[in-house]
């Protein structure tokens, strides 16, 4: 591995397993050696989407990439591509977990391509001695219902649990495993000699879906995941596949601080997809880190610091799709015309609106479950294939 695996200076730190401090994304791009999403690329995508650009790409949340230009070229020239994302199942999914899925769904709508969603129940189980297979299996099921609710095309989306799909993947997994040694996965995944052999092996399983088709694979993910895919990019071509392309997002700040990334291990910092309206309102009103001033008088006089204000960032990142509306909020809040309580109320309303819609769609997920996992057009094809 010639590339840098972590970025750390006095102000912030980004590794695939830790994000702390106030991230300097420009510096991250330089250090990771990725590319900024250029105006040309944005124009190209805008043309294909007929001007209806997703808020996350309009607002620069997805800001960096590898080979996204080649993906667009493959698309333009008829070779096509496919999308791959995944999830390590957990007890509950929070808003931050939705980001790659929402964006992936949008990409599927725009480009009409296959999406593969790997549920890494094996990795989750092996990661923590306290977890049982029964737990991780139940989490997987519940998370899949949330993912289905995002609205993927059931005939072009294959959601699979590693423990179930392993037989179809395993020959290709062995080919990949053979190209990775302990030293490499140790450095990239932050493992050591006390790490269990399942976790050491897991990178091969994570890489396999990038080779599900003989097309380029695009992975939407937060930028901290980039080092994982460098292993894939080192070994893909010798095995006869494309290097994985990536499109990287910034981190949604946790509710209680404008630093780091949202983590489900700090419950008050996250809004769960299962949170009821009252809970959401309470969490936002009580915990959301504010860039506003300490008193109404000071706020009227000085206005809020948008750069550290979490309610504003959440609205900007995800919840306020309307550009003129977000500009109005920015202007009024930073000038002191809008108070902290007011922007928090706007956010709470928007979050509850999304969660309300999500819950409605999720109620129908159970009946679509078999289609995404086994019976849909793509799923049926995938179960008939053994990748080798």
């Amino acid at each position: 591995m010639s590339v840098l695996l972590r970025v750390q200076d006095d102000d912030f730190k980004v590794t695939p397993w830790e994000v702390t401090g106030r991230v300097d994304y420009e510096r991250l791009i330089q250090q990771f050696g990725t590319q900024k999403i250029s105006k040309d690329i944005l124009n190209e995508i805008s043309k294909i989407s007929r001007g209806k650009m997703h808020v996350m790409i309009r607002r620069d949340i997805f800001f960096s990439h590898r080979d996204l230009d080649l993906i667009l070229k493959d698309y333009a020239e008829g070779r096509g591509f496919f999308l791959y994302t995944g999830r390590a199942p957990s007890l509950g999914m929070h808003i931050g977990h939705l980001i790659p899925f929402l964006f992936t769904k949008w990409l599927q709508d725009v480009f009409d391509v296959n999406v593969y969603i790997e549920i890494t129940d094996d990795e989750k189980f092996m990661r923590n001695q306290d977890y049982t297979l029964k737990q991780t299996s139940e989490w997987a099921h519940q998370n899949i219902l949330d993912i289905i609710a995002v609205g993927f095309n059931p005939d072009k989306t294959f959601i699979f649990k590693d423990t179930e799909y392993i037989r179809n993947m395993y020959p290709l997994v062995t080919s990949i495993a053979k190209k990775l040694n302990f030293s490499q996965v140790k450095a990239t995944f932050g493992l050591d000699a006390s790490s269990n052999i399942g976790i050491l092996f897991y990178p091969a399983i994570q890489i396999v879906p990038t080779m599900f088709e003989k097309k380029r694979c695009l992975i939407p993910a937060a930028i901290d995941q980039d080092p994982y895919w460098r292993l894939q990019r080192d070994l893909a071509e010798p095995l006869g596949y494309y290097k994985a392309a990536e499109v990287h997002s910034k981190f949604l700040p946790p509710l209680a601080s404008s630093d780091g990334k949202m983590s489900s291990s700090i419950p008050e910092s996250a809004v769960y997809l299962s949170d009821q309206p009252k809970t959401v309102e309470k969490k936002i009103m009580k915990y959301a880190f504010s860039g506003g001033q300490a008193t109404t008088e000071l706020q009227r006089k000085l206005g809020a610091n948008l750069n550290v204000d979490v309610p504003y960032q959440w609205l900007y990142y995800i919840f306020e799709d309307d550009d003129s509306e977000i500009q109005r909020i920015a202007s009024e809040y930073s000038s002191g015309k809008m108070l902290t309580g007011e922007i928090k109320k706007i956010l709470a309303q928007k979050v509850n609106q999304l969660l309300e819609e999500h819950r409605k769609k999720r109620e129908k997920s159970e009946e679509a479950y078999l289609r995404f996992l086994y019976d849909g057009k793509l799923a049926r094809q995938m179960w008939e294939r053994v990748h080798s």
Copy 2:
């Protein structure tokens, strides 16, 4: 791991991946901490087999064990047990490879128990960068035909390739993998930081069949394999399974030397199951290491040293089942009445007899193939189960 993983002194060395020198089996038992097969155990097995003891147990080839007494107790008290052996597929199988299968088949006949035979095509492929999956898959097929020819009960034997059966094993594999770390498999399997992650993971796959039934599992294998099973014995009970029992064989000496063990990587030292009669005769006459004297005159006068004579040892180990006949050969050859050329001829004839029978049975293997792998009574049950 508190137990010793290798035995090495000035004269010999035994690790799971290397056997050199003249092995002192008594010392090996002490150092490995296994048990000698006692008279009591032999009597017990003799009762069950109605006095028809297999040559390999009569002649002390299978000489050491772990928990074989408990296996017999479980059998006597109706709890039963099962047998497990396996094979890393290779281009050709030689006579030495047959030993555990011949003995396992005999145990199946005597105790009427299930046999599981793991074909480790995954491990073989990942072990060597030069191998392709196509090669290891073809080797697996050919080796399975040889194994079927040994004569196992098709309704109580399940032969499976790891790459195919992985999905059914994988949940339990993850439970085992979780209990083994890099340091442990490094020490036990002779791996290091440059080892690929597939090989690091493989021990979990090798252990899983010991837990296919909630009964004690008996593994017939050469004693150099013992350290592998110590990992299983350390983790089995916390996972709710029995510690694997083992019955250990000595090593069949290679044709060209009385030291070490037969290896298929030195072609002239091995007799392959596919060798034609002329080839067998030529190999034995030309290469078999002799304990006889350099000239006929000296042989007549001094006789042969049976301890280093490979033709005698092969006859004793496997090929001359008749106790009075092997005694006659021993007496005549050690006294000088029999010449080296004569004992070699006897061996060649015996080897060709076994190979002739093997080839006949192997011709029928192809039609029994599906039964052992998919359609037999046990195979069908196994494909319906997911082990977790």
